[in-house]
Amino acid sequence: MSAGAGGVWPHGQRSCVSLAFDVDGPTGSAMVDGSIWHMPRYFVQGAYGPYRAVPRILDLLERTGVKATFYVPAWVVEHWPDLCRAVVAAGHEVAHHGYKHERYVDLSVEAQEAVLNRSQEIFADVLGAPAVGYRTPTGDWHEETPRLLAERGFLYSSSLRDDDRPYRHVIGGVTSSLVEIPAPVELDDYAYFAFTEEPAFPKGHDRVAPYRAALSNWCAEFDGSHQVGGCLTTTFHPKVSATPGRALVLEAFVEHMRAARDCWFATGSEIARWVLGHPATFDRPPPPWENLTPA
């Protein structure tokens, strides 16, 4: 592939989108601390994701011809193996998202290694290959996490929020071959739609955002990214944003992006390989101060 007219994305495409879903299912802090085993309603609410919502998303992706990336805790891969194999068989990518959705910043280096190694074994057993992509579950990663990922041959992470385009992580002062695909919180459906009774989420039981308002924001984020030739990725949780009604919102969002025509829809590893193949293009430019003229 050769870079397009903008010099950044393949085939002359103006911008890039990595449509991505975090299939947490019932994993998360309540499973990590074991309290979920006394919360059957909460478990079933989480399990809605792999059980009902992921099949709905696969239908949507097939209809629209988009390949997506699914960040899936290995516990979910273990308990919904056929579903995860179907995701891969449809041409999508399944990537690492913890074993039980652990918060990496809370884990020692040894504990992070244990989570990564165990999850990679499950991926290899169930899906035939370990993951090459990583998205940090529930908040922050540990300062040593990027090094652990690079050591294990991960190609990319989609965890941080600090640029409009992918870049290569600097680890120990050296530019590494671990690519970051930044994921803006404005395209995280938790900020719009997630709601649980107990434990209360949002903490103040804030209202669910109106569907049309969320759709409008997401389209504005795409339009802006497309304008600057950026790379947009989403943090959509099937259990949150693929209810029967919200799946229609997702469909409208995908159709809005596809209408742009010159947008490259790619999986995380396709983007990472493109970035690694064109390293100079993706060196992070400094802020464009010299282009700014005071009034």
Binding site: H38, V44, Y51, R56, A200, G204, Y211
Partner: protein, 302 residues
């Protein structure tokens, strides 16, 4: 969808494409005094909920009757007694009934014997209004404690609408091979989550603003359209003090009109849906989250 492979029962009766269950939680002032009995002095706050019995409930009855809709009213036992006149009219209009405990108790913190006493008292209060056999149950709050399903069946409840996490009814284990039919809801289709507001105690907990009525209705209509497309079961939760006001009742009218427009919806009570589902479908497909949870949970849940 009404179409189904030959030899399997249709998902819904009489060629209906999808199912819609309109439920009313008539909790009245127990929303406040149930969890906190000392709040009985908060007259302004309590009056919000008394409004529901005085103005909201009759307004609902009128709108439902105009459209021929039979809803399902979940009522705590104490409210059945306090608002007897309202509930008699609810029954006379042909609506279904369900329990919310005696005083919106949290069943996950009650001792098992006390749970049984509360369920019996709640059931007895409904029997004063209508013949038993079709009463449902909606958990007022908290988790589903082990053994609750068996207790519900033992007392005479046959179905529940207490869970989120599916778009179709499913079965909750209730001991000895029995099951409670669950008709699950979604938080986004609850008018209280959308609109209810009180200064102190704070509702909602973080005092978020009252949103645009039109935008909330539009979100509900998205869910209705998604349900229609896939032939699912939608459960709407209304509260007389919330959408039974002159300014919001039109949201109820317009949602029901959208539901009734194409003649493809089976608008039924919770008992009708539960009884159809048990007879037509009998058991969950393998791999249902309830079955998975039974398989993997180290705790005794049922």
């Amino acid at each position: 969808m009404s179409a189904s492979p030959e030899g399997t029962p249709p998902r819904w009766p009489d060629g209906a494409r999808y199912a819609v269950v309109v439920t009313v939680n008539f909790d009245a002032e127990l929303v406040i005094t149930g969890p906190e009995p000392s709040a009985a002095t908060l007259q302004k706050t309590l009056s919000i909920f008394r409004y529901g019995g005085l103005r909201g409930a009759p307004r609902f009855l009128e709108v439902f009757a105009d459209r021929g809709v039979h809803a399902t009213w979940f009522v705590p036992g104490a409210i059945v007694r306090e608002y007897r006149g309202v509930l008699e009219r609810v029954v006379a209009h042909g609506h279904g009934l369900g329990a919310r405990g005696e005083r919106l108790e949290r069943f996950d913190t009650l001792p098992e014997s006390e749970r049984l006493r509360v369920l019996r008292a709640a059931h007895a209060s409904l029997v004063e209004l209508a013949p038993p056999g079709s009463f449902g149950f909606r958990l007022p709050g908290g988790e589903w404690p082990p053994g609750l399903g068996a207790q519900l069946l033992d007392v005479g409840f046959t179905w529940s609408s207490s869970w989120v996490g599916d778009d179709l009814p499913f079965f909750l284990p209730a001991g000895e091979g029995r099951a409670v039919v669950e008709v699950p809801f979604a938080h986004v289709l609850d008018d209280r989550r959308a609109f209810a507001w009180n200064f102190s105690p704070p509702i909602p907990l973080g005092h978020s603003r009252i949103p645009s009525y039109e935008e909330v209705l539009e979100s509900w209509l998205y869910e209705l359209e998604g349900c229609r497309r896939e032939g699912l079961c939608l459960v709407l939760q209304l509260h007389p003090e919330v959408t039974g006001t002159p300014g919001r009742i039109d949201l109820v009218r317009r949602f029901l009109d959208a539901t009734l427009r194409d003649g493809e919806a089976w608008v039924a009570t919770g008992a009708e849906v539960a009884s159809w589902w048990a007879a037509a479908h009998g058991a969950d497909q393998p791999g249902h989250p309830v079955e998975l949870l039974r398989r993997v949970s180290p705790a005794t849940l049922w």
